[in-house]
């Protein structure tokens, strides 16, 4: 889940990262007051869960409180990449000498956190990595050994930063890594991290993403920041279909059958298993299929839950068939999922044999599961058929 910039900065401030004077404005009067209290020129930034604010005109500079109030009125209604503003951050304008980038995230391939640092901040880091790879360093952080600032120093020095700048930047980068670990973040980013004319460093813009499953663990922090439990904080507001998916998952404590994301295809997916959902979704796309949804099943959901998820997916307009696919399961039972999806088809008024394009869930209790599928004429396969191949079989059936 994403934090707004003002929330990210509130978190950074708790840990002593250097920040400018700032205040969140909800009204033009707030903006006027904040600008007066800060004194001097200010920058006004729309608070949206998206990048591209500058390009959208949602960032403006003001020289005095009256101008700040006027800019507030101009900025607030701007929708940036489909995101409405929740307020405007009024912050002191800083005299910048150079901009840096620092981010901490997970490297999925190495299965380790990685510190990304660049001496070319303020712009899209992917663009810098592509055009100026020598200005970007990637330094992995052990999850077993205690973290030390030496790692941060290495990350910075790898881009050629030396002397006073290296000394001043190291504690900032180290602190960001500590925040990343402490709050179970999936991303902690400062861009730009600015060097001011007087040699000090300051966080100009920051962004953090909290692991969704860690919300309960960090409830106190979220409460203190005013983030309500019902705020999903995804890249876009949830659709009705996605809300109903969450309700299906919440309806029963047994297993997972949720995390539904809506797409506009015709092949419904009932997929899961330890990363299997992502793999299978990609496999369907690779075969030219058009998924109607993403979802995750696992942890041995009840028959009712698997049934409800199936019914939900089948209720989506345009869904012709569903593909039921998982990696090899151990704690999830094949027969329970088979019962759920077959029942879901029947209760939706559909013939399971014609509706389930493929059932590829091998593993625990598969013999019983396959008997159920056989009885209802559903095509199924065991572990001798790869997930990729199963996805291909499902896609091949579409439109037939």
């Amino acid at each position: 889940m994403r934090f707004y910039e003002y929330e990210s900065k509130a978190l950074f401030a708790r840990h002593g990262l250097p920040l400018g004077k700032r205040a969140l404005a909800r009204t033009a009067d707030d903006a006027r007051r904040a600008a007066a209290e800060i004194g001097g020129p200010v920058v006004l930034k729309s608070q949206v869960l998206s990048g591209g604010r500058m390009k959208a005109g949602a960032v403006k500079f003001a020289d005095d409180p009256a101008q700040a109030a006027a800019h507030f009125d101009a900025i607030l209604p701007i929708v940036v990449n489909g995101q409405k503003s929740c307020g405007v951050l009024v912050e002191e304008k800083s005299p910048i000498a150079q901009e840096y980038y620092v981010g901490v995230t997970w490297d999925g391939r190495r299965k380790l956190p990685v510190v990304i640092f660049s001496d070319m901040g303020g712009i899209d880091i992917e663009e810098v990595a592509e055009k100026h790879p020598d200005h970007v360093s990637k330094t992995h952080v052990s999850t077993l050994l205690p973290f030390t600032p030496r790692v941060a120093k290495e990350a910075i020095a790898a881009t050629g930063v030396t002397g006073n700048d290296l000394t001043r930047l190291t504690p900032i980068v180290a602190k960001l890594v500590e925040i990343f670990f402490q709050y179970d973040l999936t991303l902690a980013e400062i861009n730009p991290l600015a060097k001011l004319a007087d040699g000090r460093f300051i966080v100009l813009d920051g962004h953090v993403d909290l692991e969704g499953d860690a919300r309960e663990k960090h409830k106190k922090l979220l409460d203190e920041l005013g983030i309500k439990p019902e705020e999903t904080r995804q890249a876009r507001p949830p659709t009705d279909f996605e809300i109903r998916g969450a309700q299906v998952d919440a309806s029963d404590h047994r297993g997972v059958a949720g995390n539904v994301v809506e797409f506009d295809g015709n092949l419904g997916l009932v997929i899961g298993a330890g990363g299997g959902s992502l793999t299978l979704f990609d496999a369907v796309r690779k075969h030219g299929g058009r998924p109607a949804n993403y979802c995750e099943i696992g942890g041995n959901p009840s028959v009712k839950k698997a049934c409800a998820l199936t019914k939900l997916v089948l209720s989506k307009p345009g869904v012709e068939k569903i593909a039921v696919m998982m990696n090899v399961v151990s704690n999830t039972r094949v027969d329970i999922v088979a019962r759920g999806v077959v029942k879901g088809c029947v209760e939706s008024g559909r013939d399971p044999a014609k509706t389930i394009a493929i059932f590829r869930i091998p593993g625990s209790w598969e013999a019983d599961g396959f008997k159920i599928l056989e009885k209802y004429g559903v095509e199924f396969c065991d572990r001798s058929v790869s997930m990729y191949e199963a996805a291909g079989r499902a896609v091949a059936k579409m439109g037939k």
Partner: protein, 73 residues
């Protein structure tokens, strides 16, 4: 609504045994059994949730509780 995949049959002779009924309610992890007064009742809407653990079969006198896989018939 009867189960699509599972049926459970209890011998009428033991269904009225209050002590046995209580035991069946206790052992079933998916609430297939309930007690109405002193009489055992099958909760039909939960039949398909049966995990085939056989605890009910073991809790009752031999042959008095049967769990039937309808997909094998």
């Amino acid at each position: 609504m009867a189960g699509m995949f599972i049926d459970v049959k209890v011998d009428p002779k033991v269904a009225g045994d209050a002590a046995l009924a209580k035991k069946l309610v206790e052992v079933c992890p998916v609430n297939i059994f309930a007690i109405d007064g002193t009489k055992l009742r099958i909760v039909e809407e939960n039949l398909d949730e049966c995990v085939l653990c056989d605890l009910c079969v073991q809790a009752a006198p031999p042959g008095t509780v049967q769990v039937i896989k309808l997909y094998e018939s």
